[in-house]
Amino acid sequence: MAATTSPDRARHAAALAELDQRDRAWWSDRIAKVLVFGGGISAIVFIAAIFVFLGTQGLDFAVHRLDWGEFFGSIAWRPNGYPPQYGARALIAGTAAVTGVAMLVAVPFSFGAAVYIGEFARGRTREWLKVLIELLAAIPSVVWGVIGLHVMGPWMTALFGVESGLNLLNAGIILGLMAAPIMTTIAEDALKAVPDTYREAAEALGATRWQVVWRVVLPHARPGLSAAVLLGIGRAFGETIAVLMASGHAINIPHSVFDPVRTLTATIAAELGETAKGDDHWQALFVLGILLFLITFTINLIADTLVRGFRRRGA
C-alpha cells in the first residue's frame, strides 16, 4: 500500500513544483514589499515614539509633583531655588510675544512677496526671487543667532538708544525672517490654486491686475493663506537657537518690544545640560517639551487640512 502511494506522492509534488512560479524574483518582490512598508510607516512610528518618550520622561513629575496652578499662573521659574518653583507663565508669554512680533513682520512681507511672485513677476526675475527666498530658508538658525547677537543687537542700541539690543524686537524680526520663506511658498501655492478662468473673467470685465488680485484671487485663496500663517506660527514658535541668542533670555512678561524675553524652547536648550537625568528639573523641561509638541502638532494638523483642501479644489 505505502509502496504504491509514495511514488504517486513524489510525482504529485514534482507536478506542483513545476506549477510553482515562486522564483527568486518573486521572493525578492515579497521581501522588498515588506521592507518598503517598514520604511513607509517609519514617520508614524517616530511621531508616536516622540510622543511616548516625552510623555514617559515627564509624566511622573507632571502628575504627582507639578503644581499646575503655579505652572500657568506664576512667572517664577526657579528650578534651582529652595523650594524650586516651576512657574511657566513668563515663558509662555515670552513665546507668544516673540511669535506675535514675528508674524507682524512675516505676514505682510511674505504675502506681499507671494502676490508679487505669483501674480506680477514673470520669467527669469520670478525664478531668481524664488531661489533667493528658498536660500533664506536655508540659513541655519545658529547663523541667525550670530546675526541677532553681533549685528542686529548693536544696531538696536544705536538706533533706538535702548540698554540692550537683545530683546523681543530683535528676536521677533529674526523669527519673522526665518518663518517668511515657508509662508511665501505656501501662500504662493494657494494663489496658484485659484483657477485662471477666474482671473480671465475678471480681466474681461476690465479689472486691473491689482483689482483681480484684491477682489478675486485673495478671497479665493483665503484657506491657503490661513494655512501659511499657521505654518509660520509653528515655525516661529518652535525655533530655538536663534531665539536663545537674540532674545536676551530674561524671565519677564514683556511690556514693550525692547524688553528682553525668554521662550519655552530657549529654556529647554539653556537648562537641559545642567540637569541630571530623571530629577524634577529634567522632568519639568520634558513637560515644557510635551507642551511644545502638542501645540505644534495641533497647528500643523489644522494647517495640513487647509492645504489639502485647496490643493484638491485647485486640481
Partner: protein, 295 residues
C-alpha cells in the same frame, strides 16, 4: 446718435485704477526685495567681517587658548561624521518610505496617516527632537551622548526632507514606463529597481543634499545628544563624542569669553558657505529635472 471716439482714452476712473495698480505693484516688489535682501546682506556681512579670520591654518588647526585662537578642524571632521551618520539612517528609511507612498500605497487611511505624520515630523520644533533624542537614543537605547545618538536624532529630523524630495521625483516618472516593464513580465520590485529608481536619481540626490544641508546647520538636536564643547582628538568610532561646526559656532558666540570679534563670523561664514552651496546645488538639480521633464 452716439459718436464713437476712435482713439482710446482712459477715463478718470481707469486712470485712477491704473495708478493704484502701479502703486501696489511697487509695494509688493518692495516686500519681495525686503525678503530677498537678507540673504545677500548676511552673506556680505559675514564675508566682510569673517574673511580676515579665514586661512588654511583656520581649517586645519585645533582650537587653542580656550577656543579664542586656532582653527576649526575637529569641528569640521565632527560635522562630517554626524552628517554621514544622519544620512546613513535617513536615506534608506526615507527612500523606502517614498517608494511605499509612490508605488504601493493606496488612497486609504494609512496613507493619509503617513502623510500627516510626515508633515508633523517636519514641524516638530528642533528642541523637541533634541528631547526625544536624549530620551530615546542616549538613555533608552543606551547609545550615550555619542555620534550615533546625535546622528539618529538628526536622521529623524531630516527624514521628511528625504521622503518629500524622493517621492516627488518618483511620481514624476511616467506611468507608461512602469506598465511597459510589467508587460514584459517584470515584478513590481524589478520595475522599481530597474526602471523607476534609475529615472529618479536626480530627485533622490536633491533629497540627499537637502538632508545634509539641514543636518550640517542644526544645533539644538545635537547639543545634548553627542556634540561636545571641546574635544581635541578626532572621533574614532560612532560611540565617541565630537565637536560640530554649528555647536562650535554657538559656543564661540555665547559661551566663550574674550573671543576676537572676527572669530564667530569666520566660523559662521564657513557654516553658511557649506549650507548655501549645497542648497544652490539642490536647486540647480531640481531646475534641470523640471527642464527635462519631457522624457
Amino acid at each position: 446718435m452716439t459718436v464713437v471716439d476712435a482713439t482710446f482714452r482712459a477715463t478718470a476712473v481707469e486712470q485712477r485704477s491704473m495708478t493704484v495698480q502701479r502703486a501696489f505693484q511697487l509695494l509688493f516688489l518692495f516686500t519681495t526685495i525686503v525678503l530677498a535682501l537678507p540673504v545677500l546682506g548676511i552673506l556680505a556681512e559675514l564675508l566682510i567681517r569673517g574673511s580676515p579670520g579665514l586661512s588654511l591654518a583656520f581649517f586645519l588647526d585645533n582650537p587653542r587658548n580656550g577656543m579664542t585662537e586656532g582653527g576649526i578642524f575637529p569641528a569640521l571632521i565632527g560635522t562630517l561624521w554626524l552628517t554621514v551618520g544622519a544620512l546613513a539612517v535617513a536615506l534608506p528609511l526615507g527612500v523606502a518610505a517614498a517608494i511605499y507612498l509612490s508605488e504601493y500605497a493606496g488612497d486609504n487611511r494609512l496613507t493619509r496617516a503617513i502623510n500627516v505624520a510626515i508633515v508633523n515630523l517636519a514641524g516638530v520644533p528642533s528642541i523637541v527632537h533634541a528631547l526625544f533624542g536624549v530620551g530615546a537614543f542616549v538613555h533608552f537605547m543606551r547609545f550615550g551622548a555619542s555620534i550615533l545618538a546625535a546622528s539618529c536624532t538628526l536622521a529623524v529630523m531630516t527624514l521628511p526632507v528625504v521622503i518629500v524630495a524622493t517621492r516627488e521625483s518618483l511620481q514624476a516618472v511616467p506611468q507608461a514606463f512602469r506598465e511597459a516593464s510589467w508587460s514584459l513580465g517584470a515584478t513590481r520590485w524589478q520595475t522599481i529597481w530597474r526602471v523607476v529608481l534609475p529615472n529618479s536619481v536626480s530627485g533622490i540626490l536633491t533629497g540627499v543634499i537637502l538632508c545634509v544641508s539641514r543636518a550640517v546647520g542644526e544645533t539644538a538636536p545635537i547639543m545634548f545628544t553627542g556634540a561636545a564643547f571641546y574635544v581635541p582628538l578626532l572621533p574614532r568610532s560612532v560611540f565617541d563624542q565630537t565637536m560640530a561646526l554649528s555647536y562650535h559656532l554657538f559656543n564661540v558666540s555665547t559661551q566663550v569669553t574674550n573671543v576676537p570679534p572676527h572669530l564667530p563670523f569666520a566660523v559662521a561664514l564657513v557654516l553658511i558657505g557649506v549650507v548655501l552651496s549645497m542648497n544652490a546645488t539642490a536647486i540647480a538639480f531640481r531646475m534641470r529635472l523640471r527642464g527635462r521633464k519631457k522624457w
